[in-house]
C-alpha cells in the first residue's frame, strides 16, 4: 500500500470539517452549495480509502453514485438559485426572511 490509510482518513475528516464550517458560516447561497460539494468530496475520499483498505469494490461504486447524485443536486439547486434571482436579484440567505411571522 503506497498510501497511508490513516492520512487519507484524516484528510477526509478535515475536508468534511471545512465543508461543515463553510456551510454554516457563508451567507452566499452558491458558496453554501460549494461547501456541500466539499463535504461530498470528503465522503468520496473516505469511501475510496475504505474500498482499497477492505479490498472491496463497494466503496468505489458508492462513490460513483455519490457523484451522480451530486450532479443531480447541483442541477436542481442552481435551477432554484436562478428562479430566486429572477424575483430577488442578488439575494443571500440573510435576505430570505419572508417565511416567518
Amino acid at each position: 500500500m503506497i498510501v497511508p490509510m490513516s492520512t487519507v482518513l484524516a484528510v477526509s475528516a478535515i475536508l468534511f470539517g471545512i465543508g461543515v464550517f463553510g456551510f454554516l458560516a457563508r451567507r452566499n447561497i452558491i458558496l453554501m452549495l460549494v461547501s456541500t460539494e466539499v463535504m461530498l468530496n470528503a465522503v468520496n475520499l473516505s469511501l475510496a480509502g475504505f474500498s482499497q483498505h477492505l479490498d472491496d469494490p463497494r466503496g468505489q461504486v458508492l462513490a460513483l453514485f455519490v457523484i451522480a447524485v451530486a450532479a443531480a443536486e447541483a442541477a436542481v439547486g442552481l435551477g432554484i438559485v436562478i428562479a430566486l434571482n429572477r424575483n430577488k436579484p442578488g439575494a443571500g440567505v440573510g435576505d430570505l426572511t419572508d417565511l416567518k411571522q
Binding site: 456541500t36 447524485v69 443536486e73 429572477r86 424575483n87
Partner: protein, 482 residues
Amino acid sequence: MIGTVVTQKASGPVLDDLVLVVPELIFVGTALLLILIARRIRKTPVAIVLTVAAAVAAALSAVWFAPAEPTTGFAGMITVDGYATFFRVLIAATVGMTTLLSVRSIVGEEVPRGDYHALLLLAATGMMFSASAIDLLTLYLGLELTTLCAIVLVGIKVDRPLANEAAIKYFLLASFASALLLYGIALTYGATGATDFAGIAAALSKEGLASAPFLLVPLGLVTAGLAFKIAAVPFHAWAPDAYQGASAPVAAFLAAGSKAAGLAALGRVCLVAFGSETEVLSLLLAGLAALSIIAGSVLALSQTDMKRLLAYSSIAHAGYAVLGLLAGTGEGVSAMMTYAFFYVFMTLGAFGVVIALGKRGEELDRYQGLASQRPGMAALMLLFLLSLTGIPPTAGFAAKFVIIQSAVRADHIALAILAVVCSVISAFIYMRVVVLMYMKDPQEAAPSRVPIAVTVAIALAALVTLVGGISPGSLTAWAVSP
C-alpha cells in the same frame, strides 16, 4: 435492468426480480409517459386521471404481487415483505389523494401539469424504494430521489418569491443533511465492511459499541440524516418554511408521504441494521422524540398560518411515531406503522379542508364562522382536528394509544407521560381552530364550491379516520414489522 444482468448470487432469472418492483415500475412508466406527452395534455385533466389510475394500480399490484414469504431481490438490494407492502400501499394512497387534492392548485398556466404529476410519481417511487431497501445504497438513492422531487415540487410556482425561498431553504438543509447521512454511510461501511443491513448487523453483533465506542459517530450520523427526512427536532427547521411556501397539496404530500417514507426507512434501519445497539439507539431516538413532541406542540401554539401550524403539528407527530421505535422490538415497530398509517390519512384530511377553502383556508383567523356557512366542511375539520389531538372515537386516539402503550412497555414511562401532557397542550392549538369555526360570526362571504375531486379525497380521509377510530384493527392488522 433487463438483458445481460449477471447476478453474483444466483438469485434466479431477472424476471423474478422485476415482479418484486411492479408498483414502482407502474409509477416510473406513468411518469415517463407523462413527461413524453406533457405538451399535448396542457389543458386537459389527462395527467390527473393517469396519476390516480397509476396510484390505484400500484396499490393493488403491491398487494397482488406481494410474495407469501419475504423475498429478497436484485442481489440483496431490496426485500419485499409485509413491511414493504404496508408502506407501498400507504404511499400509493398518498399519491392518489394528493393528486385529487391538487386539481385546483394546478389550474392555469402557473404549473406545468405533466411535469408536476411526473415528479409526484417519481417522488413516490423513491419513497417505495426506501421502504423496501435493505441496503444503505438503495436507501440513500430512494430518499434522495424523493427529496429532489419534493424540492422541485415546493418551488414549482417559480413566479412566487415565497415558493423560491421555501425551495432554496429546503434544498440547502436537505443537501447538508444528505451529506451527513452519506458520511455516516461511509463510516458504517468502513467499520463493518458492509452496506447491506444484514451484513452490518452481523458485524455489529460481533464488535459493537461496547468495544468500539466511536461507532456512535456513524450511528448518530445515519440517524440524524433520517431524522431530517421525518423532520424531527433538531432537524426540523426546513419543514415550517417548506410547507408554508409550497402550495397546500404539495405541503400535504410532504407531511404525509415524505414522513411515512422516512419513518419506514428509519424503522428498518433501527430494527434490522442497528438492531444490536438498541440501548444506545433508543437513547438517541428518545431524545429526538421528546424534543419533537415538545417543540412541535409548543411552537404550534403561536402560529397563525394554517400550513405552518400543520407543519409544527407534523413535527410533533413525527416525535410520537418515533416512540414506537424505542423498544427495538417488532411490536413497537408495528405500533409505529399503525401510527404512520392513521397519521397520513388525518393529516391529508386536515390539509384537504385547508385546500377546499382555498386562500381562506390558509389563514387561521379566516376560519371564523365557518360552521354556519359550510357546516359539512366545518364538521370534517373538527373530525380531523380531534383525530390529530387524539380524542376518541377517532383514529388518532387509537394510534396514540398503541404508541404510548409501546413506550410504556419499553420502560420509557417519563416519555409516555410527556406524550400525554403534550397531547393536552396540542389540544389547545386545534381547539383554537374549532372555537373560531363554531363560536364566532362569519366575517366574510362563504367560500366558493369545492371541486368534486377534493371532496372525494377528504371523504376518503374522513372514512379512514372514523373506521380507524371505531375498529382500528380492521385497518392495520397487517402492520407487521420486518
